[in-house]
């Protein structure tokens, strides 16, 4: 089967930061939940930006469903950035209208359903919501799309443990075997049970790409423990 994402020899040089991504080669198959793990400055964010068409590579190739990052891939990729990227003066309902307008694969009833489960009022303006609730709203919007690739950047970072459980359950519940979820995070021990595979990124390259259970079988340790060994300072 054709891999969903093909990355070949990808390089990104910034002035003042050459080799932010350096000859990175990776393939992501369909129907997997994959963890993108690496310390700050390892190139995760740069890679994610390039996958989303927010940054242009210096050299190398990225193909999503066989296409270069552009308008067509943006319609296939559902992205949850690390920050609050929605217009704060809008209400939750207005944002759902926004997503409905621009994304053909967006399912408003799914979104409303999840909002109801959490007791979030669609009439509330975003700026009145707590940080944790805002993050849940953003996640709900992203997961209510029927995309081919979901890219979640630190989806559980600033959230309390109960909210984390909800977010992870939402991710599992919305899993479908034709799509792939790429999860970038620091909180490895919280999510490794949910991951199929992990990718370790160091100094702009992928130094490991294997399944969670392989690491546990071969190393006899959790991914979290193994990660700390590999990236020990």
């Amino acid at each position: 089967m054709e891999p969903l994402v093909q990355i070949q020899d990808l390089t990104k040089n910034y002035s003042g930061h050459p080799g932010a991504v350096s000859n990175l080669t990776l393939e992501l198959s369909k129907g997997k939940i994959i963890g993108l793990l690496g310390p700050n400055g390892s190139g995760k964010t740069t890679l994610i930006k390039m996958l989303n068409g927010l940054l242009v590579p210096t050299s190398g190739k990225i193909l999503i469903n066989g296409k270069n990052p552009g308008i067509e891939t943006k319609a296939m990729v559902s992205y949850l950035p690390e920050r609050t990227y929605l217009q704060q003066h809008l209400s939750v309902g207005e944002i759902i209208d926004f997503f409905t307008d621009f994304y053909a694969d967006f399912k408003p009833d799914v979104a409303y359903g999840m909002l109801q489960n959490l007791g979030i009022n669609p009439k509330d303006k975003l700026k009145t919501l707590s940080k944790g609730t805002k993050e849940k709203v953003q996640l709900i919007l992203v997961m209510s799309r029927q995309a081919d690739l979901y890219i979640l950047d630190e989806p559980i970072a600033g959230v309390d443990p109960a909210a984390r459980d909800y977010i992870l359950r939402t991710i599992i519940n919305n899993y479908n075997e034709n799509a792939t979820i790429l999860l970038s995070t620091h909180l490895i021990s919280d999510i490794e049970n949910v991951l199929d595979e992990v990718i370790f990124i160091k100094n702009g390259s992928a130094i490991l790409h294997t399944s969670v259970d392989s690491i546990r079988e071969e190393q006899g340790k959790s991914v979290d423990t193994y990660f700390r060994e590999v990236f020990a300072c």
Binding site: N193, D213, D224, T225
Partner: protein, 122 residues
């Protein structure tokens, strides 16, 4: 709440063990319908593919039967279930003996101690 799983052992084998335990202890009776992969994965807090792998294992051993229309059910083969129950219990006992040995109790002394405590525990 997610299942509490040991972090340094493969997830799917722990799921297999847990499901086996639930079946042999009667939590899932012979013929009972099992929740879907996705439901159980969400409950356990694990990846659906991992849950799928565990189910596949159990299907191979015959403990779970997949029917096209009615989903996954526990086998009706009571003998097989009892067989597995026995072998799981045996495993526990053997590893118990090992641990007692580490504490300095051989098999005889272990059995004696067990009788003593069993009487007191009534």
């Amino acid at each position: 709440m997610a299942w509490s799983l040991n972090a340094d052992r493969p997830i799917y084998s722990q799921i297999v063990e847990r499901l086996e335990t639930q079946i042999v202890s009667g939590q899932y009776k012979p013929g009972d319908k099992l929740p879907s992969v996705r439901e159980l994965a969400a409950e356990a807090g694990v990846n659906p593919n991992t849950m799928q792998k565990a189910f596949a294992d159990l299907e191979r051993s015959g403990l779970i039967i997949t029917q096209r229309t009615s989903g996954r059910t526990v086998t009706e083969d009571v003998a097989m279930i009892q067989q597995i129950q026995k072998s799981l219990a045996t495993e526990q006992i053997l590893s118990f003996f090992e641990r007692m040995e580490e504490l300095g109790y051989d098999k005889e002394n272990t059995l004696k101690l067990m009788e003593l405590i069993s009487k007191e525990a009534k």
